[in-house]
């Protein structure tokens, strides 16, 4: 009898370990892939981003990185090309996106969470939001092309690009803001109303201020998604050889991911390094933004 139990035990133990091993492998592959990706990008691009070197045969030019990489214009020479206009374009886009997404996103969330009656129409709006969140980003690009570039007449400008990105992340920001509002306990609303406040006063003077950290976090995360996007901006003429800084919202532009995409496409080997340098910059930018979101969440979000 003892043998039967121990025999079973060993057989089970083997199966257990094998299963656990399988699970480990899967997790490890996922993590390793990320690490490989980061390592590959950094090893290829780090020098390009930070080294100083000399180029040219007759007219020698001194290139000092990272300053020159960050501020130079694009060029036919992979060693001279810089990400300046693309960086500026990305900053422009960020401003446009935030200034439109935050009020609309927060406003819509406040309406849906605090004021909307629980009827079919509201359900329909919520359904739309869920569907919109799943639409591929390239389709938003097509929409932007038809509506902003052509219909509204903004042309292939940074404004069109910013508005298109706004549409892309609006559903996500609305959902995140709603969650922040939901997290405020109902007792706060009731306490405010019991003092003779109107619903409007209770919501805007007590509930919304408490939910602001969560809403800001949602905005920052949405923004970090927006600036990593390439597909929607393709139709904004951002792929053409843009070699200037945008100086007004209707100006042409390029953005960091677009610039990187261009560089990836060039066949010469040196462009690989330049593209990697651009990617490092993009990843650093995203890292900063996500850390900011995390910081806001930890410092300001209330522990109810």
């Amino acid at each position: 009898m003892n043998n039967a139990i121990t025999g079973r035990k060993t057989e089970n133990a083997i199966k257990e370990s094998m299963f656990l091993f399988l699970l480990y492998i899967c997790v490890v592959i996922a993590i390793l892939t990320l690490m490989t990706l980061i390592y590959d990008v950094i090893s290829t691009g780090f020098e390009r981003l930070t080294d100083d070197y000399e180029i040219g045969i007759i007219n020698k030019i001194q290139v000092e990185n990272p300053r020159d990489f960050l501020t130079s214009l694009d060029s036919r020479d992979p060693l001279k090309a810089g990400i300046g206009p693309a960086f500026a374009g990305t900053i422009w886009l960020m401003f446009i996106v935030v200034s439109i997404t935050f009020p609309f996103g927060a406003g819509a969330a406040i309406y849906l969470q605090e004021f909307a009656p629980k009827n079919k129409l509201t359900r329909f709006i919520e359904l739309n939001l869920t569907n919109l969140a799943g639409v591929p980003s390239v389709i938003y690009g097509l929409l932007g092309l038809a509506v902003f570039v052509r219909l509204a007449g903004f042309g292939r400008s940074v404004l069109s690009g910013g508005l298109t990105l706004t549409l892309l992340i609006l559903p996500v920001v609305i959902v995140a803001s709603r969650e922040a509002l939901k997290a405020v306990p109902d007792t706060i609303r009731q306490g405010a109303l019991a003092l003779g406040a109107t619903k409007f006063q209770a919501i805007f003077r007590q509930v919304v201020p408490s939910a602001i950290p969560g809403m800001v976090t949602g905005m920052v995360l949405g923004l970090s998604r927006a600036i990593g996007e390439t597909a929607p901006l393709i139709f904004m003429g951002a792929l053409t050889y843009v070699n200037y800084y945008p100086d007004n919202p209707l100006s042409g532009f390029t953005a960091i991911p677009i610039q990187v995409y261009n560089w990836i496409g060039y066949p010469q080997a040196e462009w690989k390094d330049t593209a990697s340098a651009g990617i490092i910059l993009l990843l650093l930018l995203l890292l900063t933004m996500n850390s900011l979101a995390l910081f806001i969440r930890n410092r300001f979000e209330k522990d109810w």
């Binding site: 009731q190 306490g191 109303l193 003779g196 406040a197």
Partner: protein
């Protein structure tokens, strides 16, 4: 339940009533939470609602400041007369009602702001912002909290102890100068020491306010209140729903020494509840 009157009509004349509830029932959709309540609440006295849980005491007390309006499925039938006005008259604004009839909740719910801002909020929404600092001091003094927080008015209210938070909630309620305070089990989340402080506070407050208190604690009702209303639940015929009913309503002393109804006597002596 028959209309339960307080003593003789002559004594009725000398008392002033802040609420007169006539055949009041509250339902949530199909479900009747409490029905056929007839009560006359005396002004400037402490009236306690007691009874086992689920008999609609909280539901009933919320009809007095129209907080049930917040629940879409809730409906109130019967009349509640508040100092000569039908509280549920179609033109009466619940917002105005709630300024005059304040509420303190079961779990202390101060706003996540400073002590000063907690009290200032009610004053601002009711446009009572003249001499705001004096008003804040007065409210905190009346709530027996001033001495403890007077140097820390800019401290976050959530840093106060449970008992202090509840007194802060009372302070912000009385800052807007209501004439009635509704209290829904205000001490059930507090320790006995804090509870005692609030009960003492109630005795002081009742000189200026009418107080209605829902309590699970019979001893609290017997020692702290002037009048007592005892509720119980009646199960429906199919055994699925329980509807609350008023069993007895009289002066606390006489209810606890000489209850008129058998159910009352059973509850008081601890045989159920």
């Amino acid at each position: 339940m028959e209309k339960v009157n307080l003593n003789t009509s002559q004594e009725n004349l000398s008392k002033e009533f802040v609420f007169k509830a006539d055949n009041v029932s509250v339902s949530y959709g199909e479900f009747v939470a409490i029905k056929n309540v007839n009560l006359d609440i005396v002004k400037n006295k402490i009236t306690a609602f007691i009874g086992p849980s689920g008999c609609g005491k909280s539901t009933l007390i919320r009809t007095f400041n129209r907080m049930n309006d917040l629940i879409p499925s809730a409906s109130v039938s019967g009349t509640i007369n508040y100092q000569g006005v039908d509280l549920y008259d179609k033109d009466v604004d619940p917002v105005q009602v709630r300024r005059r009839i304040g509420m303190v909740f079961q779990k202390p719910n101060p706003f996540p702001k400073t002590i000063r801002e907690n009290i200032a909020f009610g004053l601002k929404v009711n446009e009572m912002t003249d001499n705001i600092d004096d008003r804040i001091e007065k409210a905190l003094t009346q709530a027996a909290l001033w001495d403890e927080v007077k140097d820390d008015l800019d401290k976050n209210a959530l840093e106060l102890s449970g008992g202090q938070q509840q007194r802060l909630c009372i302070a912000r309620t009385i800052a807007v100068e209501p004439d009635t305070i509704l209290m829904d089990e205000p001490c059930s989340a507090l320790d006995p020491v804090a509870t005692k402080r609030i009960e003492d506070l109630m005795q002081e407050l009742v000189q200026n306010f009418s107080i209605l208190i829902v309590t699970h604690n019979m001893q609290q009702a017997s020692r702290a209140s002037d009048y007592c209303a005892f509720f119980t639940t009646k199960t429906s015929d199919d055994g699925k729903r329980r509807t609350g009913e008023l069993v007895e309503f009289s002066e606390t002393n006489s209810m606890f020494t000489n209850p008129k109804e058998e159910l009352t006597e059973q509850y008081i002596s601890g045989r159920f509840g």
